[in-house]
Amino acid sequence: MTTETEHVDSVKTYAVVWIALLILTALTTGVAYIDLGPFSVVVALTIAVCKMLLVALFFMHVRHSTKLTKLVVLGGLLWLAILLSLTMADFATRSWIGA
């Protein structure tokens, strides 16, 4: 296949992203010890999403990828959203009527 000129981030950028990931991991662990009630899940998932974005954008080079690649990534996220939202359409409404 054709060798496209690859956009490579500097080692420094990678190092910063890596450290950010470590800090976020520590944060997740730390927050687990604080009782936030139902919000502990929200916080944990928010941190996880941030880490996912860092990995996808920097380590997986999505930031510098073609539109088609970005579309593929968005497609995956959209399908995840379908899975979660229609499943919740059941779970969140079980108390509504009868059943």
Binding site: G75, L83, L86, T87, A89, D90, F91, R94, G98, A99
Partner: protein, 541 residues
């Protein structure tokens, strides 16, 4: 037609000899054949289980096998047929072989990954075979929790691992097809000149890539709960059993379109070739494949109507299910419209196409019955559902597969199959199929539950009819196995284009050379451009 030089010419078949040249091949055509052998093997294993099921149901008292054995029989029948035969069937054999040829490419985008995908199917299959030989599995092909995670003491883990591995085979095939369609089309082969077979496979590939990972994750969760008692699905461990059904059907409803879409692609080719006409409404048929792929992901909850899923979700899923019928109906109407004023010939592949259209329509319409909340409460988990999905998966998908196999057999092997025998077998299959499965609609409507081997005496007549049909069907399936092998040696030499069809695959030799085309073709016309050949029916030999 000049066929005298056929012996000397180098083809993909004689370009290398010995087991190694096959097991290490990167040629999409050889890999297609490897898949063909593999899934044929699994088809007959699944068939053995089906035979035993039908024999048992001859009598209402369950006196051939024990209840435990019966549970294993229908489970292994379903597992083998779905995951090791139907999912790979058309894409991995005909798709593998013809997708590159039809878009004027020399191979798939990733030949090594293609070979890897075959190995994954074989490895997954070995796990499943191990499970079957070691004692079998009894959860149903659907692995419902908490039975599969906490109670069944059969070989759930080995079977699930096998399906997990085979799933990656399917993902890799899909990935390969997507990249191939994007990057490997020959000059002039624009998206809207692609044969509808290719569109159908592109849509199928999207489902394979987007859906199968969810199945893999779900099976891993089942294994985690079964092996380490991590509570995910089992209420006793704090889990939610309906969550399993959501995850499972998020894959498995779209998976039914992995089975049917490629067959629809085949039917488009057949209808066009044997009516000597372009498919009516090409764009609609192409986009309906993509629409089915997308909408197919929004309806899975119709398998959960009586599971304890909320009524609201049931209504949403029922409503959405009706939308899937639209693109499916578009296809059926457009094939039918294509026939109008066509020069129709009744060669064997076309007989299969007619069979497909009729049986798929029955299967699809009964899908609408079961997608209706009120009716489904009555017929769910009965033979009505069994009949519904067999009309689609056997009457639809396998008809498409066999039609395609006959249609492209001359290209694959360079030889014609015997037309008379083939027509006879198509007829036997059609009759046997209906005799097997139509009584099951009636049984189900009368209340015969699925997955039971003891039943009230008054159902026996219909069960006997069904078993009789299954015997006829078995004969119909054995016939092609025999005459296809016979044709390898004795079949008439086919020549490049025995059907006088327009696709690029017919412009190269039969069997094709290793790199498919001596010269990469340049496409200047739409697909199915039969103008100038009007009135010339295909000569059936």
């Amino acid at each position: 037609m000049t066929t005298a030089v056929a012996e000397e010419r180098e083809t993909y078949l004689n370009a290398g000899h010995g087991v190694k040249s096959w097991l290490l091949t990167k040629d999409h055509k050889r890999i297609g054949l490897l898949y063909l052998f593999t899934i044929t093997f699994f088809f007959f294993i699944g068939g053995v289980f089906a035979t035993l099921i039908r024999l048992e149901l001859l009598s209402p008292h369950g006196n051939l096998v024990s209840s435990e054995t019966y549970n294993k029989l229908f489970t292994m029948h379903g597992v083998v047929m779905v995951f090791f035969f139907l999912i790979p069937s058309i894409p991995a054999t005909l798709g593998n072989f013809f997708l590159p040829l039809m878009i004027g490419a020399r191979d798939l985008a990733f030949p090594r990954i293609n070979l890897l995908s075959w190995y994954l199917l074989v490895i997954g299959g070995l796990f499943a075979i191990f499970a079957m030989v070691a004692g079998g599995v009894d959860t149903g092909w659907t692995f419902y929790t908490p039975y599969s995670t906490s109670y069944s003491n059969t070989w759930v883990i080995a079977t699930a691992l096998g399906i997990f591995v085979a799933g990656f085979s399917s993902i890799l095939t899909g990935l390969n097809f997507i990249v191939t369609v994007h990057r490997m089309r020959c000059p002039g082969m624009t998206w809207f000149r692609m044969p509808l077979f290719v569109w159908a496979h592109y849509a199928t590939a999207l489902i394979q890539v987007l859906g199968t990972p969810v199945l893999a994750v779900t099976l891993v969760l089942v294994l985690c709960e079964r092996m380490f008692h991590i509570g995910i699905f089992d209420p006793a461990l704090g889990g939610d059993p309906v969550l399993f059904q959501h995850l499972f059907w998020f894959y498995s409803h779209p998976a039914v379109y992995i089975m049917i879409l490629p067959a629809m692609g085949v039917i488009s080719e057949l209808v066009s070739t044997f009516s000597r006409k372009a498919i009516f409404g090409y764009g609609f048929v192409a986009f309906s494949s993509v629409a089915i792929a997308v909408l197919g992901f929004l309806v899975w909850g119709h398998h959960l109507f009586v599971s304890g899923q909320s009524l609201f979700a049931g209504m949403v899923f029922s409503f959405l299910s009706y939308f899937v019928a639209i693109p499916s109906a578009i296809k059926v109407f457009n094939w039918t419209a294509t026939l109008y004023k066509g020069s129709i010939s009744y060669a064997t592949p076309m007989l299969y196409a007619f069979g497909f259209i009729g049986l798929f329509t029955i299967g699809g319409l009964t899908g609408l019955f079961v997608a209706c909340l009120g009716i489904d409460v009555h017929v769910t988990d009965t033979y009505f559902v069994v009949a519904h999905f067999h009309y689609i998966m056997v009457g639809g998908a396998i008809m498409g597969y066999l039609g395609g196999l006959h249609y492209w057999w001359p290209k694959i092997t360079g030889r014609m199959y015997p037309e008379g025998w083939a027509k006879l077998s198509a007829l036997v299959i059609f009759l046997g199929f209906n005799l097997t499965f139509f009584p099951q609609f009636m049984l189900g409507y009368l209340g015969m539950p699925r997955r039971y081997h003891v039943y009230p005496d008054e159902f026996q007549v219909l069960h006997v009819l069904s078993t009789a049909g299954a015997s006829v069907l078995a004969v119909g399936y054995l016939m092609p196995l025999i005459y296809f092998m016979w044709s390898l040696k004795y079949g008439a030499i086919a020549g490049r284009n025995p059907w006088k069809a327009t696709g690029l695959e017919w412009q190269t030799d039969s069997p094709p050379p290793v790199h498919n085309f001596d010269e990469i073709p340049i496409v200047t016309r739409e697909a199915y451009d039969y103008s100038g050949t009007v009135g010339q029916e295909v000569q059936v030999g």
